[in-house]
Symmetry: D4
Subunit: 149 residues, 8 copies
């Protein structure tokens, strides 16, 4: 059994792809993810704890609530898979990678070639740098079953 | 005596500003920084350990050498000041903030309003979010001397 | 599955409220609590280990036995919810929050507005500051299911 | 050489008393303290980082800046001396004691008899419970020089 | 569920007493113990790994094999109960208590009055000092069920 | 239940021997192993993540993927059994032993007499030095059941 | 520079012997010791913090004050030298060895042959078992200067 | 100031080369090394603590004494430089690299091309893989001064 945290962009369905492919292969993996409902993720702070006039505090309340889930997920997992997509700054993804690295967790990074130079420090801390979800699933299958097919 | 690591962008002279202002105030602070010579930082791997055809490996060798300095600096410091500037992706800065946070170090973030929403997770983990170097120096002075002037 | 420790005042039924509301929502949470029988909590030391003339030692024996439960609960949990009520000093609640914070656990504080200034250091270390039990349950539901309803 | 952090109430001059008495005895101790200028401590957040309409955020900004000093002081020290005085809630003092305890630091508590029952959990975690500053200084002298005179 | 390691003397049946009494009360506790077969414990090293002429190395081989079990038991448990009996030096019991204490585990010591002065340092590190097995079982029941009866 | 990681040479079937013998004895042990398919282990990096001209990077990619499994296995286990065989340098086996030792895990080493002097530092850090798989199984049985037969 | 804590019996002058011999050899070592004034060590609690009728609490107060020194000394040192003499139970010495061992500190034990069997677990955790102070000084000299003369 | 531990082979003067070159460059580095007198290193156990008939125990006593120095050196350093030479098995060098890696220390490996495949796991955990001492000195200079010349 492997515990894998899927960190990073929440605007595409890459997590579902990985989870589905692993289920197809019957790999014994327990996945955790951040809240991927973008609206809920942005608004949870003010929705639950009350409104803020200033966007800084609105975001602060939301990000702190989301950190409860992230912190548990990284602490409990064996491996963080972090995807850097094409849009947005995605600094939280890089933050998660640093947090995981300090806890001596393994990290797999997914990104395309355009981001190669900008991600060099994070790639250098990772156990694998994958081009896409398929490569990640192949790694997971290999780790669990020793098979490259 | 406070040990402060100045993480983040290496394209402006913000570190020198902070160091100079603290020296003017005679604050007892020991600063550490990454290598800020951009060319040397990018090329150290291949310059020292031999050339690579593939940029990925060129960057990998360089980033790993630079990590020797970063890891020591974060591990030894009391406080990480991390500046997000206007240019580049700066994922290494976010990675440093996550690494420091997992080690229970205090973090001060510097950024302007444009980055507020994108940096919400990192701001939420920080002890202070400053607009510029002056605010950081005022915090350092207050921490060391209790004075707000 | 989330492990939540409910620290703080033992003179109202706020723990039962949270547990009941979470059960109604079928949230997968394992709760732990200190001994909430006030009499037993105060007297366990002398009842089990023998009488003391001096109240200091009576309390010392009791508090040390209670610490066995508290230490395990904080160490094992993902999240500490700590409620500051209207009565008593509740220094043990603040102690628990500090202990949890040093272990890098997430903390949610519940208190009303009267205590806002006095609790500022603890609020500042927390992932959320809630006004009541309902807000806490909404956070727990959001963390586990991503839903704000 | 002993590193001692003096936590707790900032409304009396108890820190100066301890420091002065130790200097009279030529004890080799390095003391650290929180900012004891009450006004500066309350206002540092908004003074340095800008005003807030809501007191919660004013206090949040201030408490977070003060936490930079507190965290370093507790992490670096061998011993925390924490005084509970007659006024205010002093929850931050209890928080510091919990934080120190989780890091396996020694703690000495100072309080008078009125607070005995309310402080039982913190007393139970402490290496000594002193009635006043003189007793603390005698402990420090004994620890460093083995003398009870 | 509580994980309890029963350290200390292996010449009486005190472990069975505690385990039986807890089973009678249906307390949810998982107990671990060192090997209590005295002959096997003394001879395991040479029996398994080959004979030694020198008693020092015979004992060294045996004690090291036994340490595999002890280290796991202390690391995994929430609470160490350590009994000091009337016979032998029982230095390994004191060693276990120190090991557990450094890992911030709770410790309950059992000893009679004769050993009070000699055990003062270990008693001072403990969460409870019990006179017999009954007191330990009452503590365990109280911790798990809040009942003093 | 004991968690045992079987580190070291992957060119003989020593792991199967140990696992089979333990199953015969119905010992409650959960075993983990590195990938023991030598070809897959050597080629996983380039097979999954793409080819490399330089053997150094081919091996680097493969070894990093394998480290995901090894790091998890050592972190999760109670005991590392590491076998040094007759062939190859087996530096990874010694690396695993050092990694485990720093995490305060117990280690059992298997090697024949020829390697005695060269392995003295690793033997000195181990809880047992066994000549063959049978001795390891006897240790495991003794640890779990207290029996030397 | 080596930091050495000299734990164990306080009834002979073995610490002075080691310190004197190391000074003669001009070895760069910083030694720390518990309070070796037996009377002061036993009475510090009641002398400083007030009398107790019950010896248990008298000893508890004293042992807790002494633990401030011991905990700092073990935490700061590289090496604990612990001597088991002929008299008394010396359980605190064994406790210190266990505490140090859990922190991954090196330990040297001094004892004569009579105690060999009773100290087997502590010897098995140690880096060296010496017969007397001279052997310890030779080890310290060798560690610092590489010389066996 | 950088603290560097020079681990690995003790049969050539590679440590002196590095230290001399760094001194020539006036680099602020504090170096530590194992005992490099091969005879003393092999015999320290029996020379100091008494003879053994069995080589296993002779080596065990020596290796344990040497571990006092190694453990301190790795724990205190920022960076381990480990050289694999042409002769001997050098398993202790690989053990040191694993120990350092688990403590999140940076590692630089030196080896020639012949050992590339056999050292792939250790290379994969390292911050740099150097061909010779000159490359290491260039890295150290770059880390400390940012200069590639």
């Amino acid at each position: 059994m492997l515990n894998v945290y899927l960190s990073g962009e929440i605007h595409s369905n890459w997590r579902d792809e990985i989870i589905q492919l692993c289920q197809n292969q019957k790999l014994e993996i327990s996945f955790s993810s951040p809240i991927t409902n973008h609206d809920a993720s942005d608004n949870c702070g003010v929705e639950i704890l009350g409104p803020e006039e200033n966007n800084f505090w609105k975001d602060n309340k939301g990000a702190k609530i989301n950190s409860i889930k992230t912190r548990k997920a990284i602490t409990d997992c064996d491996l963080v898979v972090v995807k850097f997509g094409d849009k947005y700054k995605q600094w939280n993804a890089a933050f998660d990678a640093g947090f995981a690295s300090a806890l001596n967790k393994s990290v797999i990074v997914i990104h395309n070639d355009d981001h190669q130079h900008a991600l060099k420090e994070i790639d250098a801390s990772a156990s694998a740098v994958a081009k896409d979800q398929d490569q990640v699933v192949r790694i997971l299958k290999y780790i669990l079953e020793g098979s490259l097919n």
